[in-house]
Amino acid sequence: MKAFIENRFGLLTLVVVALAAMYGIAYVTRPAPLPPPPTGPTKVAVESVTTVCPGDKGRRVDVYLPGSLSSETMEKDAPYVTKGPGGLEAGYVTRATSGSARGLAGVRCTEPAPATWLLGPGPADADVRLHLINADKAPAMVDVQVFAAEGLVSGDAGIGLEIAPGKHREIDLKTLAPSADVMAVSVTTSFGRVAVAARTVLESGGVDWLPAAGAPATRVVVPGIPKGGGLRRLLVAAPGETDATVQIKAVSEDAEYAMKGRETLDVPAGTVTALDITTGVAGSSAALVLTSPVPIVAGAVSIGTGSKPDVAYTAGTPSLALGSAVARNTTGARLLLTALGGPGKVRVQVVPDKGAAGEPYEVAVPAGRTRDVRLKAKGDFAVVVTPVSGEVYGARLLEERRRDGVMLTTQPLAPARTWTLLPPLQDTPRVVLP
């Protein structure tokens, strides 16, 4: 030992060995890179919901809260505003068996939003009344723009409409775009938010409210095209600066296919293009899957058969990943569920306005198919659809077969207000760094 220490190379050897050992330790313990922090949006429970329906004196509005359904009768013609915890759904259905507004019409009470898209027949073919309701405490500045087949046709008349807090405004779209036969209406606010609803009464007969279409996206799924005869039309708008070439695929009860001769649709920028898909879906209940390199919005018009036809609208809708609910259903309600990508499964629960909530049951949807599920409940009830697996889209169809023609209305299964997707945000003082 002594010899080793006194050896000229003793210390050197010792240090080199120690250094090598440390290299080893550092090498062995060298960590893997930390995974990057999650960047996607996170699912957060909704705390409170405000929904707004256009007023209709004496009309009964059904209000669904998770687990219960109640109803309330509107006492005034003023818009109906209800506030509640997460999961609140409200809506009503009108039914007229005669008159110019004959037919079933359903409306889902919507949340005030900064931007809303509606697609449907234009003022040239129908009486379209747009309801803008400001249910907030701050004023709202609203721009209403109507796109037709020719492009933006509404001009400046719809720009800069100020709506005071708690006030509403009803606009006959004929004043903005008298000659459009199909239209896409964009309602945006430069400040404040408005709840938007539009009621159309077709000149050829039929009445319904236009459901809000999903925000412009490069992939849009339009579920809820009912089975049976009658005209089926697809409306696609490309709100951007670039023309869109839209690939269209139909997903029917039996197949997932591109419709012959209608595989693609060219939509010039800033216009709405209508496409007749009556033969394409061939009387089957179906959904349409549209993909486009530029963002588009889409909706569909279904006209029932009979001497006095009724109309139903559906629109591009997100998947059921966050669940959905429809507050107002009556006897004869059906669900049109479409699974894309793989087989899907959802859980369906019926909540009647009287009595206990029904047992939830699961509904399987084969991959690339649409399934028409009849809801067996009677009377007024709410239906709740929660996802189990797969990517499922859906719509609720109300149908009443009468001798003078089928009355129908559809409502796409829009995401429930139970959950919301929020961007990730970190509370960190690093914000102050350059």
Partner: protein, 942 residues
């Protein structure tokens, strides 16, 4: 004109040592006095016999021991009948030997000026015969005695010339008996010190002149003032007596208005002097100062009586006397001198000014000035200064991108805003009204920065810039100074300092804005030096003082980087165990010294940082973090082994890892030496310890990012640099031996110098590109800051993160306070909801005190649309470069002030007191200089 009659009175008191010579001088006077009377105040050393032998027993009066000089003279004059004609009294102390012609000269001068009533000789030192003591004395309005002489000034006739003065000493004073009797003689209240001043003042007020006659010389031992003999007239310490009498005389003799002014100055001046005495560890002086003033002020009746007695002619006399008092400006000049001498390492209070206290003359002679080439040139020419200038130039060149910016910030450093006042407020307040409010203690490094900012005239940015951007030259300076007594060769020291200062840790810390590491990096050489002193100093008191200093600086380092403390503690304990044992066996110091010193050094930081350290211990991960923000982007998440071994800590702003290869290779080569194996082994031990600590630390994840191993690698670097520096003197030996060895020596030197040169080169070439920038933008919009009137908070969004600010950006240290977590979670949820377009979140924000939402540029269009559409938000501004700002339309609740624990203020006081005490114990004090005293005594006794 008749020949005046001269009576000489010699007063002796335990002065046999000098009396013989005094009497001889008296007898040998060229002008023989007419009468000589000796007074002996109860001497116990045979003074009375000496007097009796010289003057005859009949001419000697014996008085009790407690009789003062004045009383003795009065006693004698009572017994002596007046001479009948003009009579002069010549007062002589037993320790005052007049020159042969002194009396003659004095009388000549008296004859020339009929108004002269008091005349004094030029007093020189008894031992150093040519050294001047007094040529008349004046006094400042604060009672400070002023001879107008430099300390230890030699008499070369430079002050010669008979002239008027305020007063002369009673030693050798020639006074007209008539005047003496008229003014009442020496005041019995002033038994010693300043009695002469008082007498002369009264004589002047009576309309006579006081002259100093430089052609008459006397040698004076100042035996009482220099404490060569006991003062028996009073039990008090001469210093206190002197001070008390000084104040009293000035107060009694000044006219009323001047007296009030002088009183004020005395009270203030006394307070300052007391403080300085305490700071310079002279508690006895401080006590004397306080008691002296207290004794004067405490007896207003006495002062009033004295003033009444001196009322005659005082105001009139003052007009003439004013010119003889010390001018007021002298006090400031003295203060400046004092500060200068303190900076030069002396005790801050000069003890001169009463009577010149002899200092060791040898020490003075050693300081004989070298040939003067100009102070600036001398300063500039020192190798350390040249090194500092070089390092500063390198630093300035490398940091070119950071200089001249408006706001330094980035990396770990929050943009520096606010001043010293803000930092002090932040440090002292119990409830921090920032973010959502917090009662956690502010990190103590804030106090350090605040103190430094105060020194920099309140400019925090300047303090931070100097510490962070100047860390390389500062570290070079500390390394150079710390190795002053360790590494002998100047080139080796310069190499060591430059290599240490340019270690990758330093450049990395600067680029990443790591203020904590920068400060510790500057302090590490200091730690090494102080540790060396603690362990090895032969003087125990010096070791203890170093231990206190080490504790204080360790506390400062720990406040910035807590990891320093455990890292150092291990080394310190090991060192104390090893060296404490070794020293004990050698035995020059008393046993256990190193151990106790080390316990002191290690106990000070926890004591000074207590509550904050306690909060760290509850969250041990934070022990590994440092001052500033903890950002994953600043750390190399997978730090390579070779980087760690090359002292490269990873992260931005680093040179290639092989830059330090020269240092490592040289250190390895030092292992081959046969001599100094111990030093080399210890150096490598420290280095390996530091690297091992760095490896362990860099593998730990705290708060989502790995720990930066800068400080452990600085320790390792210190070990290597010191061991190479200590063995560097072998190189010249090698070179001298010629041949291959000479080549080897040159090669080793080249390899060693490659490290600092390469590091500097890379640093200058790449510059500081790191996250630290010189002009960090202020994320707080000016509009929001202006509208923050009632405690509204502003949520600032940037990318996918946000924070809550209150009226301004965060100060240093503010962003490190953990705030209430439940509230924070609620806030985070609400802000996410707001950004995601969910309803109802604005109300939550309002409840949490948020009044505004700001988005830092660039503002995404969707985010702007979302915020615009929020009904509870009202847009105030939105621009491409300025970002956006929205105001909450909801009612905003103020963030509630949380109650502060009562102990908080108490703790702050305790902390301040502890810092003061530790600083006092660590500071070099007066006690060190007292080693000169025995020498002076020995000389005096010779």
């Amino acid at each position: 004109m008749s020949r005046p009659y001269v009576t000489v009175i010699v007063v002796a008191h335990d002065g046999a040592r000098w009396l013989g010579e005094t009497l001889r001088a008296l007898i040998n006077q060229s002008r023989r006095p007419d009468r000589v009377v000796g007074v002996d105040n109860g001497s116990r050393d045979g003074s009375a016999d000496l007097l009796a032998q010289a003057l005859g027993p009949g001419n000697v009066l014996s008085l009790p021991r407690s009789t003062s000089f004045g009383e003795s003279v009065a006693e004698v004059l009572e017994k002596l009948p007046p001479a009948g004609r003009e009579e002069w009294i010549w007062l002589l102390h037993d320790d005052c030997a007049p020159d042969r012609r002194a009396l003659e000269e004095l009388l000549t001068a008296a004859a020339q000026d009929p108004k002269a009533a008091v005349l004094g000789p030029k007093l020189r030192d008894w031992l150093h015969r040519r050294r001047l003591l007094e040529l008349g004395v004046t006094v400042g309005r604060t009672g400070r005695r002023d001879t107008g002489l430099e300390p230890l000034e030699f008499d070369q006739g430079q002050h010669d010339g008979t002239r008027e003065t305020l007063s002369v000493s009673t030693a050798g004073m020639l006074i007209k008996r008539e005047v003496w009797e008229r003014v009442g003689g020496l005041d019995p209240f002033l038994p010693i010190f300043r009695d002469d001043l008082d007498l002369c003042w009264r004589v002047r007020n009576a309309g006579h002149k006081v002259l100093v006659v430089t052609s008459a010389v006397a040698w004076h031992a100042e035996a009482a003032a220099r404490r060569r003999r006991r003062i028996t007239v009073s039990g008090d310490h001469p210093r206190r007596l002197d001070r008390r009498n000084a104040i009293f005389v000035v107060m009694a003799n000044l006219p009323f208005r001047a007296m009030l002014w002088a009183l004020l100055r005395n009270v203030l001046g006394s307070a300052v002097r007391t403080l300085l005495f305490i700071v310079s560890k002279q508690p006895a002086n401080a006590l004397d100062e306080v008691l002296a003033l207290g004794s004067v002020l405490g007896h207003p009746g006495r002062l009033l009586r004295a003033r009444r007695a001196r009322r005659q002619g005082r105001r009139k006399g003052y007009r003439r006397i004013k010119w003889f008092l010390t001018p007021p400006g002298a006090a400031y000049r003295r203060l400046v001198d004092m500060v200068q001498s303190f900076l030069a390492g002396q005790a801050p209070v000069d003890a001169a000014g009463r009577h010149h206290i002899a200092t060791d003359p040898d020490a003075e002679q050693e300081l004989a000035p070298p040939p003067d080439t100009g102070a600036f040139q001398r300063f500039i020419g020192r190798p350390g200064v040249i090194l500092m200038i070089g390092l500063t130039l390198v630093t300035l060149a490398a940091e070119r991108s950071l200089l001249g910016g408006e706001r330094l910030g980035g990396g770990a450093l929050v943009p520096v805003i606010g001043g010293a006042r803000d930092l002090w407020d932040f440090y002292t307040e119990g409830f921090h009204d920032i973010g959502l409010g917090s009662t956690d203690p502010a990190p103590p490094y804030v106090a350090v920065i605040a103190a430094l900012s105060t020194l920099f005239f309140g400019k925090t940015w300047l303090a931070v810039s100097v510490l962070l951007l100047g860390s390389v030259p500062l570290a070079g300076a500390t390394a150079y100074l710390a190795t002053r007594h360790v590494i002998p060769g100047v080139p080796a020291r310069a190499w060591a300092a430059a290599t240490y200062a340019l270690l990758p840790v330093a450049t990395g810390a600067i680029a990443a804005g790591r203020l904590g590491t920068a400060v510790v990096f500057v302090l590490v050489p200091l730690y090494a030096w102080l540790l060396g002193v603690v362990l090895l100093a032969a003087d125990r008191r010096r070791a203890r003082r170093a231990a206190w200093a080490l504790g204080l600086w360790l506390a400062v380092g720990t406040a910035f980087v807590p990891l320093v403390y455990p890292l150092f503690a291990v080394l310190g304990v090991l060192g104390a165990v090893a060296f404490g044992g070794a020293v004990r066996t050698r035995g020059p110091r008393k046993g256990g010294g190193a151990g106790v010193s080390m316990i002191i050094a290690l106990a000070v930081p926890p004591a000074l940082l207590l509550p904050w350290l306690a909060s760290l211990v509850t969250d041990p991960g934070r022990l590994l973090l440092e001052a500033g923000l903890h950002d994953p982007a600043l750390v190399d998440q997978t730090l390579a082994p070779e980087s760690l071994l090359a002292l490269s800590p990873g992260g931005p702003g680093l040179p290639p890892f092989w830059v330090t290869a020269g240092l490592v290779v040289t250190a390895l080569a030092a292992l081959l030496m046969r001599r100094q194996r111990m030093i080399v082994a210890i150096g490598w031990g420290v280095a390996l310890y530091g690297v091992l600590a760095a490896i362990l630390v860099s593998r730990i994840t705290v708060e989502g990012a790995r720990v930066w191993p800068g400080v452990p690698l600085a320790f390792a670097g210190t070990g290597l640099v010191v061991l190479v520096g200590l063995t560097a003197h072998r190189l010249p030996e090698l070179r001298a031996s010629g041949g291959l060895r000479r080549l080897g020596a040159v090669a080793i030197a080249a390899v060693a110098f490659s490290t600092p040169l390469l590091a500097a080169g890379f640093w200058v070439a790449t510059g500081v590109r790191g996250p630290l920038v010189g002009d960090a933008p202020d994320v707080m919009p000016a509009l929001a800051a202006a509208r923050t009137a009632n405690g509204e908070r502003t949520v600032v969004l940037k990318g996918s993160s946000f924070t809550v600010l209150h009226g301004r950006g965060p100060l240093l240290g503010e962003s490190e306070l953990p705030t209430a977590s439940q509230e924070r979670a609620r806030l985070a949820n609400a802000v996410r909801g707001l950004v995601g377009g969910r309803g109802g979140d604005a109300a939550t924000l309002g409840q949490l005190g948020v009044g505004m939402v700001a988005v830092a540029p660039p503002v995404p269009a969707e985010l702007a649309a979302t915020l615009d559409s929020q009904p509870s938000l009202e847009r105030m501004s939105l621009s491409k470069d300025g970002g956006g700002l929205w105001r909450l339309a909801e009612p905003v609740t103020r963030v509630p002030v949380q109650p502060v624990g009562v102990w908080h203020t108490m703790w702050l006081y305790a902390q301040g007191a502890m810092v003061l005490v530790v600083a006092l114990l660590a500071a070099p004090g007066r006690r060190q200089e007292e080693s000169a005293e025995p020498g002076a005594v020995a000389l005096a006794g010779a």
